[in-house]
Symmetry: C2
Subunit: 317 residues, 2 copies
């Protein structure tokens, strides 16, 4: 039987990370409520420090380390939001951080990680090269690996977003979160069902990287054949740990097409006036585009992040 962090570990994570993170607001839109027939509560992790929920797990993991372990620093491999979150949280704790980034990652992401004070280590864009680079740092420095999702401290940290959402919305029937490696969705499910057992939790996943949807159907961990979705934060695959939790606690996974991701970004931009990244739009699409029957339900949606390069969308005239 899968376990994952307990609700007590999630409560401890809330206390631990409270001084370092924003308690983000919950937004509503009268017009989106009207058009869906639901009450939709959008948890604005795009407004979180570093621009995504990832700072919750990273801060919980890094601030959990005993002082003498922390002093040797932390390492991770991620060119995205988790890399920036580890860099930020390590600086908050005053310890060194190394972030392994593939050579082909966007320069802007590399710069963000360096801006937060981490040492960026370039590697080849393969899993083997990334893992080797991280291992080399660990052997050389004694740094601790902060995995993006396969870690109960990370899952407990990510769970705190849903815990805040459920409290602030005051009663929900359904919570939607995006799924990639499964840390956010697993934490969301544990938090929701521990706080209000009747809440249903549904994951939203790009159809182009639907390993979670296939894994829950087949009953075993599936891989992605392709990972070219615009939702660049959702290209990872479940681990045994997150798969075990999702299998037990998640009602369903809905798959979102590429054009639906863009449509949800537009709707959230036009109605809520919020910039969200495509990964967050995957969760919003689950509620906004008729993918699920949400009529008359109180639905929480974790808008997981807001980091994207708008030069792509707002070209110069």
């Amino acid at each position: 039987m899968a376990e994952g962090p307990t609700i007590e570990a999630i409560r401890e994570a809330r206390r631990r990370i409270a001084p370092s993170i924003h308690h983000t607001p919950v937004f509503e839109s009268a017009s989106l409520n009207r058009s869906t027939g639901a009450r939709l509560f959008f948890k604005c992790e795009n407004l979180q420090r570093t621009g995504s929920f990832k700072i919750r797990g990273a801060t919980n993991a890094i601030f959990s380390l005993p002082a003498e372990v922390a002093a040797r620093g932390v390492v991770t491999h991620s060119s995205g939001n988790h890399g920036a979150a580890v860099a930020y949280a390590a600086r908050q704790r005053g310890i060194p951080a190394w972030v392994v980034v593939p050579r082909d990652a966007a320069e802007v992401k590399r710069a963000a990680i360096a801006d937060f004070g981490a040492e960026v280590l370039l590697c080849e864009p393969t899993l083997a090269s990334r893992e080797a680079a991280a291992r080399e740092v660990i052997e050389r420095t004694g740094a601790t690996l902060i995995h993006p999702y396969d870690d109960d401290r990370i899952i407990a940290g990510q769970a705190t977003a849903a815990a805040e959402l459920i409290e602030d919305a005051g009663g929900l029937d359904l919570v939607l979160a995006p799924v990639s490696g499964g840390g956010l969705l697993a934490g969301t499910a544990i938090a929701a069902q521990s706080l209000e057992p009747r809440i249903r939790v549904v994951g939203c996943e790009p159809a182009r990287a639907d390993d979670a949807w296939r894994s829950l159907r087949s009953g075993k961990l599936e891989r992605n054949e392709r990972s070219d979705t615009i939702a660049d934060g959702l290209r990872a695959t479940l681990s045994e740990r997150t798969f075990g939790i999702l299998r037990e606690r998640v009602e369903a996974i809905v798959r979102i097409e590429e054009e639906e991701i863009l449509e949800a970004m537009r709707l959230v931009g036009e109605r809520l006036k919020l910039v969200i990244e495509p990964s967050a739009a995957v969760a919003a699409a689950g509620a906004l585009l008729g993918k699920l029957d949400v009529a008359n339900e109180r639905v929480g949606i974790v808008l997981s992040g807001g980091n994207l390069d708008l030069r792509r969308f707002f070209p110069s005239p």
Copy 2:
């Protein structure tokens, strides 16, 4: 000597409109503070009801009408945010509203006005046709004209945004607002200088519709030769009333180029995660792009609205 509404009229407007509008939040960005060397306080009128500050003036004007006058309804000519605001405020008061809209206005704007319950009257896209259509309604129904800016009740209503901003930010050196017909900027200047006389107020205007900049230089009301700026909310020109107030109270007008408007939209989107319309980006550009020396200053910026058609920016893949 120009007068405009008093600070007491602005205080009264706050009380009058409080039940109908949002007290919008003030956002900050650590990275924008770092990059400008200032403390920037963004007043989020993009998150206001109807998506812009215009609801403040419209609500103040419409709720100021004596009952028997109000009962005959209100009329305005505007295809943009003021039209939607008048429609919304009239519905709140339970009275009829007619909004004259040029035939060539975007269908989405027309639909928004009709959604708020107003009767949309189409006219030719000329000032003469618009005014004739409004006059016809007034003669037929006895409705009251709600002018978008040439009205002290409107100016007092728009002033309430700056009043909230100054209170919430806790002390400012400089306030920036966009200028078109001048209602928002005039109200901002009166509110700011009545509440904290040392605050400087600067208007921001598209270089392509710079009548306010030219009027303040020449000392007489100037017209715009062209009005093809992307900032579609800033194409109107000052009235004698607003010009008089600005001449007395505004330190300067800065002109913003089209590419700077887009750059400011991008920066606000990427750093604050907020969707703002080009007119609001004009004010943001004043602080963000080195147009003014803001180093070490506490600067309030009125993000006037967030209504735009994102299909233009987020095309389908």
